[in-house]
């Protein structure tokens, strides 16, 4: 039993990080209708930049974290202005391809600057001693990650509901043209969407980096976010959060169960994608997604 509870706990942590990255993905998709295949690379960039600040320049964690966020914003603005803005109005496939190209450019920059070895944060972000959670020893990193992710998701929920910029973003997502005619600066909204996505991804990157260490494989996180956003509904921000957590837990549980029952290895890598196909066949617009109803 304890084994399964531990699986669920680590699944929840993983899921909350998925949720953060999925949030970034959904924000970009919702307001700019760009499918961002470079989300995982944004995460990786944040994780590595923070590593540089903390380990190589010995900056205290708090400032390093803030600098990472600032850096992510700068990166997002550059990417949006130089790569995505010229693509406005191009077909979906070109936009997908441009973000794929972007991801390989970002990855090669990371390899060039930081190499391909696994790195760890030293000193660690959170104390390493385990705490007792209902009789089950849980490392503090897990608790902090889950808590931080939950707080961020809540904050962004409030942001979209109440702040002026958040409302403007939802209006842009609803229709670019209507938003423009209402005097909303749509280009700035696009840039803002990218900034938010980069910031939440960078935070996710730092969290996952302090759990598993940072390496070039972090980029795959961006692809594993697809099951989460599809389960939640591609254009729903709440859905991204819920979907991320569900997929994280399901992934961990199926991995643990299948490994102990049938001795299958490496299920973790593929389980989310099996869910993905199942969801697409059963409930294609996800839990909270907007159904497109067309009649002929």
């Amino acid at each position: 039993m304890e084994f399964y509870i531990q699986l669920v706990i680590s699944g929840l942590v993983l899921g909350s990080i998925y949720a953060l990255v999925a949030l970034g993905f959904a924000i970009i998709f919702k307001s700019t209708s760009v499918v961002n295949f470079a989300q995982g690379e944004l995460l990786m960039f944040g994780a590595y930049y923070c590593f540089s600040m903390v380990v190589q320049y010995k900056i205290p964690w708090f400032w390093a974290f803030l600098l990472t966020l600032v850096f992510s914003i700068v990166l997002a603005l550059l990417v949006e202005r130089l790569v995505l803005r010229p693509m406005i109005g191009e077909p979906v496939i070109s936009i997908i391809m441009v973000t794929i190209g972007l991801s390989s450019v970002l990855r090669s920059i990371v390899t060039a600057v930081w190499g391909t070895q696994i790195q760890v944060y030293e000193p660690p972000l959170f104390p390493e001693t385990a705490v007792n959670l209902m009789g089950i020893p849980t490392s503090q990193v897990y608790l902090w990650s889950f808590g931080l992710a939950a707080v961020l998701l809540g904050l962004f929920g409030l942001f979209f509901k109440f702040s002026k910029a958040g409302v403007a973003m939802r209006a842009t997502a609803f229709s670019n043209q209507v938003a423009l005619s209402m005097g909303i600066p749509v280009k700035n909204i696009f840039a803002l969407a990218w900034c938010i996505a980069a910031v939440v991804s960078a935070i996710g990157g730092v969290l996952i980096g302090s759990i598993n260490g940072i390496n070039i494989q972090l980029g795959h996180f961006g692809l594993k976010v697809f099951p989460a956003v599809i389960l939640g509904g591609l254009d729903s921000i709440l859905g991204a959060a819920v979907g991320g957590i569900i997929v994280g837990v399901l992934e961990n549980l199926s991995d643990g169960v299948l490994k102990s029952a049938f001795g299958l290895q490496g299920i973790k890598e593929v389980a989310p994608f099996v869910f993905l196909v199942l969801i697409l066949m059963v409930k294609p617009y996800g839990l909270f997604g907007k159904k497109e109803i067309e009649r002929v």
Binding site: I93, I96, V98, S104, S108, Q265
Partner: protein
């Protein structure tokens, strides 16, 4: 823009349906074909072998262009489908002792069946959702390649026996080249005619406006599934040839990177264009080789930043894709048409 030749009056339906319209085009295409077949007699083994990979890439690119360029369903699983073809062909030859000439089409059909399974969501979905379904296909198939050890040899890979006619085995660079290029030419011919047929026009209608297509009596699901199947068939054939070319198949080759490579080929070459698939396949096969030579030379000149340059190889690939999409969104095939139109009208381009 298409410019007809002066004096090219099409007086019958037969004239109108010609693939090669004028004598000049017929002669030059014929000359090109002859050149393709005598080429290895004068070239090094390295060039011949590069041409073989281009031929395989052309077949794969034609396949993905049918599903993505003509039918408008983005596919991110072409690499994995090629893997299915390669492993299936090898399995049929080694275990079921089929000759290559039966095993290759059988592998194509197997891949088509697999492709149709992952095309099933297209009953209810379109566009982006399908792209993500094919992404899932890529990862699921990659997992199976490594874990279905009986068929695929796991992470070690598995040998792929060479095709044979009587006692002649296709195991030299030249014989592999001839086999590949013949199948590639057949594939180009078949695709050119497919997209002019009833089914091909249905594909294009589904891409251009699926609602209108449905109103005009085109069964959307049927044609989407069909395009997935045809595309996967091409991938299966290309995969079988890849197995023949390398002689040893390993799961490492059929990753998401390979799928992206194929998608990049048709975007750079030109979506929905047979010629574009060929241009794209040539470009994307030669680009990594040029980059390897270029970065190798640079790394030798500046040994200190050699590591830096090598790691930028991947980035340059991405950069070229981005630049193409921003500055040449219609692909090489479009540029080719423009160059042709320019010379046709030269010097009075108005």
């Amino acid at each position: 823009m298409s410019v007809a030749h002066c004096g090219d009056f099409r007086q019958s339906y037969k004239d109108d349906m010609k693939v090669l319209e004028t004598r000049f085009v017929r002669v030059s295409v014929g000359a090109f074909l002859v050149l393709l077949y005598v080429f290895p007699l004068f070239m090094s083994n390295y060039a011949t072998s590069t041409m073989t990979t281009i031929g395989i890439a052309v077949i794969g690119a034609l396949g993905i262009n049918i599903v993505t360029g003509f039918t408008g369903q983005i596919s991110l699983g072409q690499g994995a489908f090629m893997g299915v073809g390669a492993f299936a062909c090898s399995y049929f030859m080694r275990i079921l002792h089929m000759p290559f000439w039966i095993a290759m089409p059988a592998a194509g059909l197997t891949t088509a069946a697999v492709g149709m399974v992952f095309g099933l969501p297209s009953a209810r979905l379109k566009g982006l959702y399908l792209a993500i379904a094919t992404l899932a296909a890529q990862f699921i198939l990659q997992y199976l390649f490594i874990h279905m050890e009986a068929v695929t040899g796991g992470s070690n890979g598995i040998p792929s026996p060479p095709p044979e006619i009587g006692s002649f085995a296709f195991d030299g660079d030249r014989s592999k080249y001839y086999l590949t290029i013949t199948i590639a030419v057949l594939a180009v011919l078949f695709t050119t005619n497919l997209v002019r047929s009833r089914d091909g026009r249905a594909f294009i209608a589904v891409r251009d406006h699926y609602l209108s297509a449905e109103i005009m009596g085109i069964h959307l699901f049927k044609y989407r599934l069909l395009s997935f199947a045809v595309s996967a068939f091409y991938a299966g054939v290309a995969g079988s040839l890849w197995g023949m070319y390398t002689g040893y198949i390993s799961a490492e080759h059929f990753t998401i990177a390979e799928s992206i490579n194929y998608l990049a080929m048709i975007i750079i070459g030109g979506l929905g264009s047979v010629l574009g698939s060929i241009f794209g396949a040539i470009f994307m096969t030669l680009l990594p080789q040029a980059l390897t030579v270029g970065t190798g030379a640079l790394a030798q000149t500046f040994p200190k930043i050699g590591f830096l340059i090598m790691s930028f190889k991947d980035g340059v690939f991405g950069l070229i894709v981005i630049l193409f999409l921003i500055f040449e969104p219609d692909g090489l095939a479009h540029r080719w048409r423009q160059i042709k139109a320019y010379w046709k009208l030269f010097p009075f381009s108005y």
